[in-house]
Symmetry: C2
Subunit: 421 residues, 2 copies
Amino acid sequence: MIIKGDIIFTKNKEKFEIYENGFLLIQNGKVKAVQKEYTGIEKVIDREGMLIIPSFVDLHLHANQYANCGLGYDEELLTWLEKYTYPEEVKFKDLAYAEEIFKEVLNKLWEAGSLRSVIFASLYKDASELMFKLVAEAGLSAYVGKVNMDRNVPDFYIETTEDSINFSEDLIKEFSNNDLVKPIITPRFVPHCTIESMQGQADLAKKYNVPVQSHMNESLAENAWVKQLHPQYKTSTDVFEQYGLFGSNSKTIMAHCIHNTKDELELMKKRNFYPVHCPESNANLTSGIMDVKGMLAAGLHVCLGSDISGGHNIYMPNQIILAIQLSKMKARMEDDLSKVLTLAEVFYMATKSGGSFFVNTGSFEEDYSGDFLVIDTTSIMAPREVRSPIERLEKYLYIGSQNNITERYLQGKKIDKPFKE
Amino acid sequence: MIIKGDIIFTKNKEKFEIYENGFLLIQNGKVKAVQKEYTGIEKVIDREGMLIIPSFVDLHLHANQYANCGLGYDEELLTWLEKYTYPEEVKFKDLAYAEEIFKEVLNKLWEAGSLRSVIFASLYKDASELMFKLVAEAGLSAYVGKVNMDRNVPDFYIETTEDSINFSEDLIKEFSNNDLVKPIITPRFVPHCTIESMQGQADLAKKYNVPVQSHMNESLAENAWVKQLHPQYKTSTDVFEQYGLFGSNSKTIMAHCIHNTKDELELMKKRNFYPVHCPESNANLTSGIMDVKGMLAAGLHVCLGSDISGGHNIYMPNQIILAIQLSKMKARMEDDLSKVLTLAEVFYMATKSGGSFFVNTGSFEEDYSGDFLVIDTTSIMAPREVRSPIERLEKYLYIGSQNNITERYLQGKKIDKPFKE
């Protein structure tokens, strides 16, 4: 398969690679090459004048919070969980409801061009199992986590430690052999998991070599709570480390990572660790601004997440732009303009950096997965406006929408809208 | 005219007024009443299940920068002006180009539900005159300013002091008798206007009782420049005050007002002064975060502006949400949660506070202008989602779009899309 257009991607965070009127060659679902010229005999899919970019990778979202997008942002994290989140998540006992919402979420991820994602599915085994199946049916790619929480949650929304571990293990066994849909161990966050649960989850991660996702250092109140629950430790990192969940054996995703100590950053560097920046959620819940620039400079795989429904937009370009804007506000308030993120850096986070969690994804280098979007910017151009490919990309990210994405390919295969409305 | 629906507006910044299944009565283009019941005999326009809210008021935008929306945000204000803005604005010598862009801007304002606005049109008299006529033709309402700049701009984009004053006066005379479209004196900002120009513009404001708009205290570099140009004064406020442009006779709009001194805030309070918060522009250009909460508490008419193309979205709900988010980030970084803006406060800024510049606009109190939007939130609801009117408004502002606005009324008259594409 050979497709022609204005091809843009990031090999590293420093700059965009741009092939105006270039050719992307895909073989067996993987990138074979990107070229300025093509003289071969195969038929070329001609998308001249359109942008071709890697599809987005959303490294953190809660599928069972979707109906709350745009609601309740006068609260901070802990009260927001009590007032809005648990009462919605508990509805997923009803499998028919779960199916309706999950199909909508997968349609929205498809629309948004986020063809790969890492999902908090549900506390419930049945609903989580359904999400695995629906992702596969949609033809998308995701890590799906059954959420584990066995303490400090309302009576109407809790499970036993035994169920946490057994159900997680059942799902790992059931879905370990799928190339596109994989399990991920999902302790909600330190305050919601007993020591026994954390240890049990760590054992599963080690036994099956499955990655781990959780939340950490999102809010000051959360950090104070962790210290109160575990007075012998200083941070969530210490607790996760103690109980084996901090990426010593497999990859670890931690959403937020805003209020970190120096020691935590040191340990993150040593491990195969993915901090996920969720700018919209952090702004909505008054959590704070992550030092993304500093963490990137330290060599961490900082990625982007929509974190619905802490964030309200599942559409990744909104997260890209807000990440840049928040970095500028942090830079201004700290009087340190070196903290400003560039468009290339955040695009890299949303594609290759997040994609590296899936291995060789999110770039157009040789052997990378043939995951890409075709984007038509005609509708967002002003009268007589003519722009270079990189300017069209900038405009698309700032003022475009899902509607500008005309085609979506995963592993070289065109993906259609997954579910009828 | 009587219209039924879920009516929401703000009389003051403290809270929303909500009439579920209420009736909005409009007479002679003005609000007569909002009622829970209606027992009269006139035909009711039934919009049950839809929201009815005041239309938005955009108090600051540059129509001749529209084609740059979404471009060049790796720069700060002064270099951005040089690299991107002047080269675009100079194109408005070409009246045919001006017409194409201005029609598109007015279509976009209409789509966005911003039926009233305050516009920087163009340096050029002809293009500015055209904007007055096009606003009238569109059936929208605006203050239109011919931009004045006679120093410290590139040779290819400057005018004489005499032209500044004469052309401004010509346009004031030509358009002073229109109810919906009015002139506004528009010095670009202190560094771009000579003392003679500022004095001449102040004389016009006094002579014709016309309001003034400009920019002020947007960036630290700008403030340093003002001090360097006028070493005898400390701030832009001092300079504007000295030369008669600081609201002593008529209303004054100043965009941005981020980096203010205590003395400036005191003087703002004394005068009929409208500081305009432009959150997206301030974030894009690394300008800083206005202390909106403090300025509202001080009793200032703080309003909202899209400031395209410093901002990239002409759509006011994006500004509403970002204003809240930035206030949260400021509150978090200054460890003062009392600085967090509520949804009611920012909605008030985008409707009644900005509307007060137009007199009795932006609310549904008696004798207010019959300006409103009808909003259908069906498309943004999740499966089975049922919400109260205020929750639907919150969701609309966070995750809705122009497409959810189904009807737009100005002075009780339905406005159709102004210009064919």
